[in-house]
């Protein structure tokens, strides 16, 4: 990554973390338009502009001041969606997890004080950060973040997403049988496509570990069948389903799936493994072919 790109990243960060109106929507329906928000204990302090009329020769002008609103009175904080939430997944998908991490970290930091307030983008940003860390193989830093998400995540769906990460940790450690029921629990209640797709991919990987290829395949295929829009997870699902096909001795299908992965997600972190898997399939095909 050249210096030019880094400058672009920095500019984007500056532009979007602080951009846009940050309104407070109160439970009585009133909307407070603010120039900025900060947290003070259980109160959200809003910086607002107060127009001051011309008095005694002084021209009319605008004065800024802070007004505090206790959290229980707030229906939601109306932050604009940070652009990084859309950009970072593409970077991870392109095998640029460190860049994604650099992009998302300031967002996590910015929303940290509001993480338990409705409308905060902390959950989404923190999940993406965990995703980027895992893509870099940095499980050590991902773990505490995931635990924090599970503990104080703003909504039940975030807690489910965190549970998926916990299950993924079990899968990585080879505790497949323990991981599967965890994913099933998530899949029972999850509503967000990203949560369902993620749980399905990791569930598939656990079944692969258990050599339960049919169950693995059915789990992986949830993603391309129902959630093809989850671009970050599709290559993982394709790679997993190719491995399951190999396990089921359906080598032509495995080959097709790997080729699809390499065609549509050539820059994904899974591409290298897909190539290796393709070699394995070729070896297997050769091994199963009759002598010349």
């Amino acid at each position: 990554m050249g210096g030019g790109n880094m400058k672009w990243l920095a500019a984007l960060l500056l532009a979007t973390v602080s951009a846009g109106a940050q309104n407070i929507v109160l439970k009585d329906g009133k909307v407070v338009t603010s120039k900025g928000l900060r947290r003070q204990g259980d109160t959200i302090m809003a910086t607002i502009e107060i127009p001051v009329p011309a008095i005694e020769g002084k021209p009319a002008h605008v004065q800024t001041g802070e007004v505090g609103y206790p959290l229980p009175q707030i229906a939601r904080l109306d932050f604009p969606e940070p652009a990084q939430l859309r950009t970072a997944p593409d970077l991870i998908l392109a095998g640029k997890a460190p860049e994604a991490l650099a992009l998302i970290e300031p967002v996590v930091k910015y929303y940290e004080p509001f993480r338990d307030a409705p409308g905060s983008w902390w959950d989404e940003a923190a999940l993406l950060k965990a995703e980027a860390l895992q893509a870099m193989g940095n499980y050590k830093d991902a773990e505490p973040l995931i635990q924090s998400l599970a503990r104080i995540g703003g909504d039940p769906e975030t807690a489910r997403a965190a549970k998926v990460f916990v299950g993924a940790g079990l899968t990585r450690r080879g505790e497949y049988a323990k991981a599967v029921p965890l994913f099933d629990e998530v899949l029972k209640d999850a509503v967000k496509p990203v949560t369902i797709a993620s749980a399905s991919v990791h569930k598939g990987q656990s079944h692969l570990g258990l050599k339960e290829y049919e169950s693995a395949l059915l789990a992986f295929l949830q993603v391309p069948v129902f959630y093809p829009g989850q671009k970050l997870l599709v290559p993982q699902a394709l790679l997993g389903s190719a491995k399951a096909y190999v396990g089921l001795e359906d080598l032509p299908q495995a080959r097709n799936t790997l080729n699809e992965l390499l065609k549509d997600y050539a820059a994904s972190p899974q591409a290298a493994e897909a190539r290796a898997e393709l070699d394995r399939v070729a070896r297997r095909e050769k091994a199963l072919a009759p002598p010349k």
Partner: protein
């Protein structure tokens, strides 16, 4: 003034007709048409008529305003009001033209565009509506109005069959779900588009459309929140305009549209809530799209969602049936059977019960699971007595029993079939199989009658050739050789090129042999092995021919026959035996060199192909031929020895040089595989000439020089074992791994699984070792390594403290006569260890004693058993017995060099009983 005040009161009270009449009356009182009071009066009058609603009068009032005050303060609002009134008065062209002018005003843009669309659609001008909508959603959908426009546009595209554009829009809308106010309409369009695409077999597009459909919960949630929002907007807008008549006029005009939309939204929601959930039906459509796209597994995933998410849906039956069909097509027999059982439990009387019943058995039959098939067909015939496949199932039930050798059961089924379906499609075969059952149960006389009955009915039937052959078999059993020979000749005339010719020829050979016509027998057997397609007949006929040729003393013919066989079928398992006979025959003739040349010629063809596993066997044969000094020239060629004369000593024979000479032609173009195999031949020779160190040296050289992928299965297996025995577990594992991965059909595969199990066990990966040994035994069906795999599994179970299972296996090893030897000693010792581990010291001692009494030859186990027996005596508190046991051990001179002996001395010293 009074009229005006009255009109305002009426206006504020929503009495529009009175208000309008009041404003009209007030205007008439004004002398000057241009009076400053005139514009607001015209505006309010138009607004009142609009709300009344009397759009024609509203249009009149607004037009008057614009004609007299084109630049008036409210001219903008009046234009908008006029356009709205024109639209409602169904004057679409004029309304559209007016709204088009307003597009330039940013605040009015969306409404102006929406109204134009409505106008053009009402006027039957969809092209114009599309133009406006395409402008409306460009460059990005950011508002609810734009999202609504996009839905309408998708609908218009769909109507125009511009499906690609419609799908692109649907996909764009998927990312804008927060902006969608009318998901019901969106769903309708998406489903219609999906169906159109599916009909056109554009599967990806069909699926993209179906995926855009919102779930019932989402739709209801959206609609409710939208209705609440509209109600709130109405309330807030009226509240905000109280006390401001002109603003109220404007608000009421806007609200009229909102109210219409609100009523429509409520009606839609009410209707929608009455409808059954569309989810399962949509999933069935998706599944069909995947299935027709030949993506069967994906179809299974979708069907599965119907089954798991909609436990009460009526579509479950179709989903389960669809899953069964898809599972059968992807070759998942077990999954298919499981689903068939599930179907029969849940939909015993379902519309597809007959097919499912048939499928469950048919899939088992296809997977060669005859017992399973018998069970399924039997159960299904009972459960689905009216199945359309009843006849086929009855016939196949007979076949499954027939295949399992249950001829009596099969006969019943075939007879039942013929009773129920005398002219059924399987009637001929059923009759034929009835006769066959008699042949296989040895009831030849009865069989002859039945076969003749079959042939009488079906002289040109599908099974006539086989029936005639079986009839000959029965006659042969009755020693009617002449009849068989006559029938055989007729058969061969009637069925030239028939795949059964080999069997008939072999039977003819048997008849000639039985009557001692060996020359004729040989001819028939030779014809049999050359023409048969069955390995069993080939082996039989080939070796019968050889036997009779030998009886006739025709050794050159024996050699020639086997040479021809090796050339024709170089990979046949009988090649090695053939080579043996070629060598023997040529040696009988004093032509060992010819045998060697023949071997080398054949090796040239196949030595570079690692999968040809017979190559190593040919090399062994070659090494064997080279190991022995060739016979001297025939006695006739040498002069007889004089009395007292001793024969001249033979020149020294160098077997290695002879082998090198033979292998030289193979070396010229040798690749790595060939080179490794040539070394293997040298190692074999070293072993045959009792030079084990040389053999080991060559094996080590092979291990160092070649990569696993350059070696054949035989070499991977043997080198793996060799290296593991020498303690190089990692290299051995790499070789076994390569054997497992690259040669999954090899006859030596049990070496790989057992070897990898040994490596895992040595590395204390007991679970993995157990898995590998179990695979070796159950999946691979270990033969050569059966003993090692069984012992390995027992050791792994022991290491995992699964003592009962380990005991059973060790007992099995100890009880097999063919395995008697060191493995028996080890098994008995291990049985002692199992008892000792569980604190059963007396039982353990008995077993250790059995080792040093019954298996004295296997000193390592004897030494260990003495020591462990002493340990267990000591644990029982019998120190003196322990001491006596160790002293007995020390008296055994054969054990002096074992480390256990040193350990015994140490213990005796500790116990104050040093010798």
């Amino acid at each position: 003034m009074k009229a005006y005040n009255g009109a305002m009161v009426a206006f504020n009270a929503g009495q529009w007709n009175e208000a309008a009449a009041g404003f009209e009356a007030t205007m008439k009182l004004l002398a000057d048409e241009k009076a400053p009071q005139m514009p607001p009066l015209l505006y309010l009058s138009g607004a009142a008529w609009f709300n009344a609603p009397d759009y024609v009068k509203a249009v009149e009032a607004f037009k008057r305003y614009l004609a007299k005050f084109p630049a008036g303060e409210k001219a903008g609002e009046v234009r908008l009001g006029l356009a709205r009134a024109l639209l409602r008065a169904q004057n679409f062209d004029e309304a559209a033209a007016l709204f088009a002018q307003m597009e330039a005003v940013p605040a009015l843009r969306e409404e102006a565009q929406s109204a134009q669309v409505q106008a053009y659609r009402e006027a039957g001008k969809p092209e114009k509506a599309i133009e406006v909508l395409e402008r409306m959603i460009a460059p990005e959908i950011r508002t609810t109005a734009q999202a609504g426009g996009a839905i309408t546009l998708a609908q218009l595209y769909a109507d125009k069959k511009e499906s690609a554009k419609a799908v692109a829009l649907l996909q764009k809308l998927e990312t804008k779900s927060a902006l969608i106010e009318n998901p019901v309409a969106l769903n309708g369009i998406a489903v219609k588009l999906g169906d159109d695409f599916l009909t056109a077999r554009q599967f990806a597009e069909a699926l993209a459309s179906y995926r855009a459909v919102r779930s019932r919960e989402e739709v209801i949630r959206f609609q409710k929140s939208r209705i609440a929002g509209m109600e709130q907007r109405l309330e807030m807008s009226v509240k905000g305009a109280v006390g401001n008549p002109q603003m109220m006029a404007q608000v009421q005009m806007i609200n009229a549209g909102v109210r219409d939309t609100l009523e429509e939204a409520k009606r839609l929601l009410e209707e929608y809530e009455k409808l059954p959930d569309f989810g399962p039906a949509l999933l069935l459509r998706m599944a069909r799209a995947f299935y027709d796209w030949e993506k069967r597994w994906e179809a299974i995933v979708v069907y599965d969602r119907v089954l798991t998410r909609y436990p009460q849906a009526t579509e479950r039956e179709a989903a389960l049936f669809g899953t069964i069909i898809a599972a059968a097509e992807v070759g998942q027999a077990k999954m298919c059977q499981r689903l068939c059982s599930q179907y029969m439990e849940q939909f015993k009387d379902g519309p597809n019960a007959g097919t499912v019943g048939y499928l469950s058995g048919a899939v088992a039959l296809q997977a060669q699971d005859f017992k399973g098939a018998e069970n399924y067909f039997g159960v299904m015939l009972e459960k689905v007595p009216n199945s359309e496949y009843k006849g086929t199932m009855r016939f196949l039930l007979g076949n499954t029993r027939f295949m399992q050798g249950n001829y009596e059961g099969a006969l019943k089924d075939y007879r039942k079939y013929l009773e129920d379906y005398p002219a059924g499609p399987e009637a001929e075969e059923a009759g034929y199989r009835i006769a066959l059952s008699a042949v296989f149960t040895g009831e030849y006389e009865k069989a002859m009658g039945l076969l003749q009955e079959y042939l009488g009915k079906h002289p040109q039937g599908n099974f006539a050739s086989d029936a005639r052959y079986r009839l000959m078999v029965c006659k042969y059993a009755a020693s009617l050789y002449a009849d068989v020979l006559a029938d055989g000749a007729n058969w061969l005339r009637d069925y030239p090129q028939n795949p059964q010719e080999g069997e008939v020829q072999a039977l003819v050979g048997d008849c000639h042999a039985a009557e001692n016509r060996l020359e004729e027998a040989v001819k028939a057997y030779q014809a049999a092995y050359q023409r048969t397609t069955s390995d069993e007949v080939l082996n039989y006929a080939l070796f019968e021919a050889s036997k009779h040729l030998q009886k006739l003393g025709k050794w050159p013919e024996v050699a020639a026959m086997f040479e021809e066989f090796v050339r024709a079928k170089p990979d046949h398992p009988a090649v090695v035996s053939a080579m043996f006979w070629i060598g023997k025959a040529r040696a009988k003739e004093g032509k060992t060199e010819e045998a060697k040349t023949f071997l080398v010629e054949n090796l040239k063809k196949y030595i570079a192909e690692p999968k040809r596993e017979a190559v190593e066997l040919l090399l062994q044969q070659l090494a064997q031929l080279c190991a022995k000094r060739p016979r001297p020239a025939t006695p006739a060629a040498t002069a007889p020895l004089a009395a007292g004369e001793t024969p001249a000593p033979l020149p020294p024979y160098d077997a290695a040089a002879e082998l090198a000479k033979q292998l030289a032609p193979l070396e010229s173009t040798a690749d790595a595989t060939t080179k490794a195999r040539l070394l293997y031949a040298q190692a074999e020779l070293a072993r045959l000439t009792k030079k084990p160190a040389e053999a080991d040296r060559i094996f080590l050289e092979m291990a160092g020089r070649f990569k696993p992928e350059e070696l054949s299965p035989v070499l991977l297996a043997q080198l793996g074992d060799f290296l593991f025995a020498r303690g190089d577990a990692d290299k051995a594992a790499a070789l076994f791994q390569s054997l497992r991965e690259d040669f999954p059909k090899s006859d030596y595969l049990d070496y790989a699984y057992t070897g990898l199990g040994d490596v895992a066990l040595a590395q204390k990966q007991n679970d993995k070792a157990l898995e590998l040994y179990t695979e070796a035994l159950d999946k691979i069906g270990a033969t050569t390594k059966l003993k090692e795999a069984t012992l390995g599994k027992a050791r792994a179970l022991f290491a995992l403290k699964r003592y009962d299972e380990a005991r059973k296996l060790f007992e099995q090893v100890a009880s097999i006569r063919e395995w008697r030897g060191e493995s028996t000693a080890f098994a008995v010792y291990s049985l002692g260890e199992i008892e000792a581990e569980q604190g059963k010291h007396a039982e353990a001692i008995a077993l250790y004693r059995r080792v040093f009494v019954a298996y004295q030859k296997y000193l390592p186990w004897v030494a260990k058993s003495y020591l462990r027996a002493a340990d267990n005596f000591d644990k029982l508190g019998k120190r003196q017995d322990a001491i006596d046991n160790l002293k007995e051990m020390l008296r055994n001179e054969k054990l002096t060099k074992f480390p256990e002996t040193e350990e015994a001395r140490k213990r005796l010293s500790e116990w104050g009983a040093a010798t």
